[in-house]
Homo-oligomer: 468 residues x 2
Amino acid sequence: MSKEVISRSLEEQREQLGEYLLSGQKARASLLTGRLPIRNGFFTTNAHARNAYTPQEIVGGISDSEVLLPELLKKAGYVNKIVGKWHLGHRPKYHPLKHGFDEWFGSPNCHFGPYDNKERPNIPVYRDWDMIGRYYEDIQINHKTGESNLTQIYLQEALNFISKYGSTKQPFFLYWAIDATHAPVYASKPFLGSSRRGLYGDAVREIDSSIGKILELIKNMGIAKDTFVFFTSDNGAALISAPNQGGSNSPFLCGKQTTFEGGMRVPGIAWWPGQLPPGQVSFQLSNIMDLYTTSLALAGLDPPGDRPIDGIDLSPVMLEGKVTDRPIFFYRGNEMMAVRLGLYKAHYWTWTNSWEELSQGINFCPGQNITGITTHEQVEHDFNPLLFHLGRDPGEKYPISVLSNEYQQVMPRISYVVRQHMESLIPGEPQLNVCDLAVMNWSPPGCEKIGKCLNPPESKPWKCIWPH
Amino acid sequence: MSKEVISRSLEEQREQLGEYLLSGQKARASLLTGRLPIRNGFFTTNAHARNAYTPQEIVGGISDSEVLLPELLKKAGYVNKIVGKWHLGHRPKYHPLKHGFDEWFGSPNCHFGPYDNKERPNIPVYRDWDMIGRYYEDIQINHKTGESNLTQIYLQEALNFISKYGSTKQPFFLYWAIDATHAPVYASKPFLGSSRRGLYGDAVREIDSSIGKILELIKNMGIAKDTFVFFTSDNGAALISAPNQGGSNSPFLCGKQTTFEGGMRVPGIAWWPGQLPPGQVSFQLSNIMDLYTTSLALAGLDPPGDRPIDGIDLSPVMLEGKVTDRPIFFYRGNEMMAVRLGLYKAHYWTWTNSWEELSQGINFCPGQNITGITTHEQVEHDFNPLLFHLGRDPGEKYPISVLSNEYQQVMPRISYVVRQHMESLIPGEPQLNVCDLAVMNWSPPGCEKIGKCLNPPESKPWKCIWPH
């Protein structure tokens, strides 16, 4: 019997976990392509070292030239479903069913809003090819109480999919991309007020409970030993939204939007009864891109041979307890900000955000301020990168002295790895440079069937502004 | 059969724990008296809101009028031993064997040094009534390599004591006060380099391994179901010593020396096979003082009825899962800085340390700086205490607005509790006001037997200076 693969994406409280994957902005594209954003095009060149994403006005999305995980799995007979947030482009050419998925329930963008449908349309919700409604019109999220049934709807979609294909021995891949812990945070009525951690904690509890129900179904159907489940998140906690709408990064420095550990560390939990002994902790340095390669390996497939793949196969890590020494490169937009090798991390550039943003109250490191490290100018440390030992100093507070033996021994190894990476790197075509109000979700496919089409304004493309 | 009681004191990595006790400076006196330092005399009035302790030059110590836990247990037939750091006064009148303990192996002060035995003597190590040597002379700690066998010696003392009395059905109390994670941090050779967290991590691993051996012995002797074991620490991680000589406070603000959560939260783990189900987490707000009352209750004893006791009996919490609503008052020296009630914490005074100290590099909140909260002047917030919800905001970064409904509803309840506490409080006689070089460990009892007596200088008492 072939193996089923389920992935999950979640921002959540992570104090309890022994080890972490590394992730960061643009994780969804990396998860599905196995490649760094600088290769798969999920970056901008409009300004130096900027985080870009896919709001409604973005023109770009995932390129046809990228080979997504579900495309490959499909060839091996898998049926693939995405539940929740897609975020790899919302224009018709980027539709997930054109990139390997067979089913979709969810949205192309974040559940921001409500909008007025004049200046800006509300975000559509799709079932497969067609939109079935819009947030704040047909799918409710109450900002005042935080109440929404959305996670329950996503849960039901997951359970139905697993029931349908799990019973027929049909191999399946479910990408369960819930977003209840992304601001604006929400939970359904039974979970409101159920945590000691406010609405954010309530959302985490609802996700936790939902995952319990998914695992229970898999066990009850007798397919657990053939179903690989992986739980992770797309970036560290968004401290800018904390405490009411964001999580905690515990000892790690800063949060989402930065290349400090607080922006990069995410939980990584694998579940596969009968194959993976429970309660194991691996110190393997890994990244969300590895799930691409790992999933392919578990399905008996090879990754594409015609392009660099950054993910590694974690199955020897999980099944045999092996650990591989490999670097991870931390990009912000078009710049390699930092690199991790073993327990060392070297920052070649530091930047949290601009003084201008900071003075407006936009702070990605609330309560944290370390001279020379959490800089508000873009500072290049090319000659003497800031070096940290994340075992002794997970909070990146105490750079290792440039004059120390340790620095002199470690940096040449890191420099070599960086040089190798840079020399062979061919950046992809940047997809996140152009914005246009005309491409917003005015008239998504299917809008005509439910009378939800809106008139787009005239097309006036501009270079998107990414302030941080 | 009566119950055996073992307590442990340890500063350690605490990221893995579900809930925390509260503790702080002067925890040892509170542990053994069940009372706040402001009552048992472990504070100073030399200046406002200062942390004092018992260095070699301190004249004071634990008062004869305090009734220590081992004194009461002794009356009920227990044999009591302290292994490790005493720290309740080193002059003969404060000797632990004069305050209820039957056996002692360890030291009256911290293992600082080496000293020259002229300006300042090395700290003595006692077996029972007599000193048997001094640190850096007879008991080695290598600052360069971090190597010392001290934890192994303390372990052997514990194992011998348990073996001796556990086999005779003699009820016993062991206070295992190891100090390997207190700067200067040390570990024995097999543990050096064994962690990913430097010497500090090695010390934690050695303590962890030692505790494993103690629990194993208790199980192998068949006395586990009659032996209550509790593991905790005397204060939050000393960030001033981090990362090489100190731990991490994870999401909590600041560290040891402050009344922020990073100075106060400590792990609390109870072990009692057959009585306490493993893996339970309690949300009971508790404090190291509670171990006094709890231990007495488990031994079938009442706390003294002639004085206020601040500790509560945790046995209903552990055995029946009950939770009691009770306040905890956070003192710094002679000042109530903050109070905790449920998940709320109100700061009446804020102070990390002085600008003068900070400018010398003494920083109790490295990398953390929150305007109006981590103040470097002593700031009174009497009219509008800074209020935090530690469920939503464990890092004390987002004070609740004074104008909010939440503040208006919660603060009157807290004010009422504070008023009640203040109206009934009678401070004890401050023991930590007077210093004198003549009282240092020049000629501890037994020094004559081993030729280790030194001549004290002339007595010139002064008011001790406590800078923070």
